[in-house]
Amino acid sequence: MSLVLEGVSKLVEGEHHIYPTDLTLERGTMNVLLGPTLSGKTTLMRIMAGLDVPATGRVLWEGRDVTGMKVQDRKVAMVYQQFINYPSMTVYDNIASPLKLMGVSKSEIDKRVKDAAALMQLTPMLDRRPLELSGGQQQRCALARALVKNAGLVLLDEPLANLDYKLREELRAEIPRIFEESGAIFVYATTEPEEALLLGGNVGTMWEGRITQFGPTPKVYREPCDATTARVFSDPPMNFTRIEKTGDKISFGEGQSAPAQGALAGLADGVYTAGFRPDHLHLSAQGADGLHFQCHLNVTEITGSETFAHLSHGPDHWVGLLHGVQDLTLDAPIEVWLDVAHVYVFDEQGKLVAPAAFAMAA
C-alpha cells in the first residue's frame, strides 16, 4: 500500500499553488508536511484526498491511477484545523456515519464506535451533540470519525492548531499511538518544526508550493539540503551571515575566522552563506575556538524558561535563543559566542555544501 504523486501540480488563476511535485509515501508511515501558511500544505493534501484535481500529473494509490476519482470512492479520512463535525447528530452518530454509509452491520458499528470513543476518551460524551463539547473534545470526535473508517490514508491538516496549549500537548502525545494502531499512511500538516520533530517519521518541508526536501525527520533536521529548508525547519528561523573561504581559513568578518576542516576543507575559495540555529548562540565562550561577534541587542522576549534576543549584526538580523531568564540591557551592544561546529555552509544558490560538524557527529 503506497501513495505516489507523479509530477502533480496545481494552478489557480495562472498562479502555481503547487509546482510539479513527486512524492512517494509508504504504507504505515507518519509523514509530516512542514511549512509556513500558504506554502501549499493544504493544497497538496486536498489533491491526495481527491478533493482537488491536479492540473498536471497523476496520483497513484497501490499502483492504481486514482487521479480524478470521486472522493466518495477513495478510502481516505481527513481532519481539518477547524473542528468539523455534523452539529445536528450526536457524537455517536457522528462517529458512526462513515460506517453506516459503508454498509457495516449494526453490531459491528457499535463495537467500532465504542472502541474509537474509548481511544479518544469520548465514551461519556457519546449522547451529546458536538457543539456541547469543548474544543479538544470536538476535535477528538473528528479524529474518531476519521479513524473508525480504517482508511488507508489519513490526512490531518493542522489538527491541533486551534487548540489551547495544554490540549495540544495531550492530543499530540496521542496521535503517534493512534497512528501505530492503524497501520495506515498518515499525513500531518503543521507550521511548527517542534511538532514535526515530536511526531518523528518522515518530514517534507514546503516552501512556496514546492517540497524542498523529503526524508526521515532527524536527517532533514540535521542535514537540510538548502537554506530554505533550514529556515523552514527551525523556529525561530535559522540565522545567516556571509562568509568567505580563502585557502584553509574561513573568515566570518570582524577578524573572526575558523580553520576549514572536515567537509569545509574541500570547498573552492569564494563567498558562502553560513547558517546556524538560534539556540547555538551563547553569551559566554564555548570551548577554545569559539567565534565571537559584536552585535546590537534590539528586543528581548522572555517565555519563562527561555529568552529570545533579537540582534543586529551588520546587515544581518539574528535571533538568539538563550536559556533561562536573561536580564540584558536593551538597545546596547552585546557580545555573543558561536561554536563553529554548529555552522552550516550554503553556496550562493542556497544549496548545502557542508553540514554542521556537530549535527553529523550526533
Binding site: 481527513m78 468539523i84 456515519s97
Partner: protein, 266 residues
Amino acid sequence: MERTKKIGLIVYILFLMIPIYWLINLSLQPNRDIMGSFSLYPQNLTFDNYRRIFTEAGWARGYLNSLIYVLMNTVISITVALPAAYAFSRYKFIGDKHLFFWLLTNRMAPPAVFLLPFFQLYQTVGIFDMHIAVALAHCLFSIPLAVWILEGFMSGVPKEIDETAYIDGYSFPRFFVFIFIPLIRSGIGVAVFFCFMFSWVELLLARTLTSVDARPISVVMTRSISATGVDWGMLAAAGVLTLIPGALVIYFVRNNLARGFALGRV
C-alpha cells in the same frame, strides 16, 4: 428610572395594539351597534360574523384560495431557491456575482410593472384564474428573496463540512438532505416566512390574475360592500382571520427574524 421605562413601554405597546383591538372589537358586534353608538367593548357580543364567514361558500372559498396559492408559492420558492442558493454560496462560475445581484433587482420593481405581461401571458397559455398563476407570479419576487436569505445562512456553514461528508462517503443528495438542510433549518424557516408573508399580503397581482375560481380573500372582502351599505362586522371578522396565519408563522421564526431582515447576513 426602571419604572418610567416600564410604564413608557406599556403605553407604547397599548398604543400599537389599538387598531388591532378595535378590529377585534368591531368583528364581535352586529352592524347595528357599530353604526349606532361608540363603545369601547362589544355591548351585544356576537360571533355571528365569524359564523357567516365559515358557512357562506364565497368567504371560506376565498380563504382557501389564498392559502392554496400562498402555499404553492412558498413550496416552489423554497424548492427552487435551495439549490440556487447552494450554488451561489459554494461555487464560482462566470457572472455569479452579477447574477446574484440581478436577482435582488427584481425586488426593486413594483409588482404593478409586471401586471400587464403576466395578465396577457397567462390568458394566452390558459392558466388565468388558476392558483398556480398567482403562485408563479409571486415567485418572481419571493424566489430572489429566498435565494438571498438562504445564501446568507449557507455561507455561514463551513465548506469543510461538505468535504468531510464527501470523504465520509455521502453522495451529494444524501449530504444535502441529511446533513446540510438540518444545519440551515432556521434559515429555511425564515425564508418560508418571508415568502409566505409576501404572497399573503400581496393584493394587486392576486386580484388581477384571478376572476372566479381562484379568487383570493381580499377580493371576497370587497363583496361585503353591497347596495345595502358596507357590512362592517363581516369585514372586521375577515380582517381578524387574515391576521392569524401571519401571526402563526411569525411565532415559529421569531428568534431568527432579525437575521432574515438582514437577508441572512450577520
